[in-house]
């Protein structure tokens, strides 16, 4: 009997499901970053707003990369439904704290999928995920450095203005 299952796709149903969940997570991250950009813009933090607009685009790029991969290997990528995106944040610092938490959650999720791929001997997907895991090193580094600016500069006086000035200068160099 022909193996119609593998002739159609090299993805297992389990990995396809996990990757679709990751698509949802990346799409949610993109939407949350957009909300953060809006909040920053409304509160006069223009540089931080631009930073979050860029982050939002980047997360959408990640989502599309996974989306394309699923379809390329014969699976079915699902366009995610994203609900309950916050529009208000506690503080300027709170926005960056949430950004870091979001990145940590994304890394943990990618690690879980990579672990599952190893268990299922799906090294094709594992190899595909390696790029994302490397990317997360940069994402977490940048989020941490941004948050550290609040400690280094302090928020008193012109502190918030200075932090906003420095945010765009945070880069990751290997």
């Amino acid at each position: 009997m022909k193996d119609l299952l593998r002739l159609k796709t090299s993805l297992t149903e389990e990995v396809e499901g996990l990757l679709n969940e990751q698509i949802k997570m990346e799409a949610r991250s993109s939407a949350v970053y957009l909300a953060m950009a809006s909040w920053c813009e409304r509160h006069g933090f223009d540089n931080s707003a631009n930073f979050f607009y860029r982050q939002s685009d980047e997360e959408r790029g990640h989502m599309l990369k996974i989306f394309k991969y699923i379809n390329d290997v014969g699976g079915a990528a699902v366009s995610p439904e994203i609900l309950n995106i916050p529009s208000e944040f506690d503080s300027f610092r709170g926005v960056f704290e949430e950004a870091l938490q979001q990145e940590i959650a994304v890394t943990q999720s990618l690690n879980r999928i990579a672990g599952k791929c190893q268990k299922l001997l799906d090294f094709t997907t594992f190899n595909f995920l390696a790029w994302f895991l490397n990317e997360q090193v940069e994402e977490e580094y940048i989020a941490r450095r941004c948050l550290e600016l609040f400690e280094v500069i302090g928020e008193e006086g012109v502190g918030q203005y200075m932090i906003d000035e420095q945010i765009v200068k945070v880069t990751y160099e290997v």
Binding site: D3, R6, L7, K8, A76
Partner: protein, 112 residues
């Protein structure tokens, strides 16, 4: 020649190697399903919240209508039929996975 993948009291799912499709025999009708259509139908059935259908007092909630692209049959299913079909597809899915494992073992052995 179509081969039986899985059969239960309500129906049977076959695989047609020549046409590379599945054939669903259910409710006295035979329906040809392409591979994507097979998975789409399975996912659609799996997503239906049967507990919510049972809890809903509206008579309209007792029936689910499923119409898929690439499938010439429109399924109008009661809760009992949904449960039977769910079991049929789950069983077929397991057998297809088993076939994949067997194929992998056979070809893996030849390659070594």
């Amino acid at each position: 020649m179509a081969r039986v993948i899985f059969r239960n009291e309500s129906g049977c799912l076959y695989q047609d190697d020549q046409k590379a499709c599945f054939i669903l025999e259910y409710g006295g009708h035979s329906t040809s399903l392409s591979v994507p259509c097979f998975f789409c139908l399975k996912k659609t059935i799996d997503k239906i919240d049967i507990a919510a259908m049972i809890a809903d007092p509206d008579p309209a909630a007792d029936v689910e209508i499923i119409s898929l692209h690439g499938c010439d049959r429109c399924f109008v299913l009661t809760i009992a039929e949904l449960l039977n079909l769910k079991e049929l597809f789950a069983g077929a899915r397991t057998m297809l996975e088993l076939n994949s494992i067997l194929q992998e073992r056979i070809y893996g052995t030849i390659m070594v």
